[in-house]
């Protein structure tokens, strides 16, 4: 039962990543693309944790923590670059 739920979760979050990729390709402004990239990072975190449950190991928490940190820093850096033309003034 958990295995079926895990497959459902994988399908949902994977489909979500494809929707965000469509928005990256389509998005009219840079803000749309930054938002879609941020959502891809969120979906990736959820996929990594689900994969850790699937494999039965706790090692994927560290990986998802790192992905969360890198995703936040890259979102802020991209926004700063679009806003000010520079990341650290």
């Amino acid at each position: 039962m958990i295995a079926m739920a895990l497959y459902f979760g994988f399908a949902c979050f994977g489909l979500g990543i494809f929707m965000c990729i469509w928005r990256i390709a389509r998005g009219p402004t840079a803000a749309d693309r930054i938002l879609a990239l941020d959502t891809i990072v969120i979906n990736t975190i959820a996929l990594l944790i689900l994969y850790g449950v699937h494999k039965g190991t706790a090692i994927y928490y560290e990986a998802s923590m790192l992905v969360a940190m890198v995703g936040f820093v890259s979102t802020v850096a991209y926004c700063r670059f679009v806003l000010r033309g520079d990341i650290i003034e």
Binding site: M1, I2, M4, A5, L6, F8, G9, A11, C12, F13, L15, G16, I17, M19, C20, W22, R23, P28, T29, A30, A31, D32, I34, L35, A36, D38, T39, I42, N43, I45, A46, I49, L50, G52, V53, G56, A58, Y61, E62, S64, M65, A68, M69, F72, T75, V76, C79, R80, V82, L83
Partner: protein
């Protein structure tokens, strides 16, 4: 059996909310409306997955871990900051200063006006 049902329920709930949050990226028409959609994926999607994995490792594997709470706290702290930055980027790209409503404060909007003078003293 009941434990498996509860864990599966949280995983399915998280998957549905993650899908809804990403589907909002397709369906909503404006950038400011689209800003609303991924908050579902952040809070309920990732939160449900983390609750499910915490229950799984506690009840099935028999080990309690607090890494999930760290990820939840980190996401809840950083999601408003990144949403604020995306909104500022959109305002700077699309809105003229005269289109914006008044800031209702001593100074204007931070992306168009200079910072207050007392920040220069230190």
């Amino acid at each position: 059996m009941f434990v498996e049902f509860v864990i599966s329920f949280f995983i399915v709930l998280a998957g549905v909310f993650g899908l809804v949050g990403s589907f909002g990226m397709l369906k909503l028409k404006d950038t400011m409306q689209r800003l609303h959609a991924p908050t579902k994926a952040t809070t309920l999607g990732v939160g449900g997955v983390l609750i499910a994995s915490m229950l799984y490792f506690l009840l099935v594997k028999g080990s309690l871990s607090f890494h999930e709470l760290l990820i939840t706290i980190f996401l809840f702290l950083t999601a408003p900051v990144s949403a604020h930055f995306v909104a500022k980027t959109y305002i700077q790209a699309k809105m003229k200063p005269e289109q914006l409503p008044g800031s209702e404060g001593e100074y204007g909007w931070a992306i168009y006006d200079d910072p207050p003078a007392y920040y220069d003293n230190d």
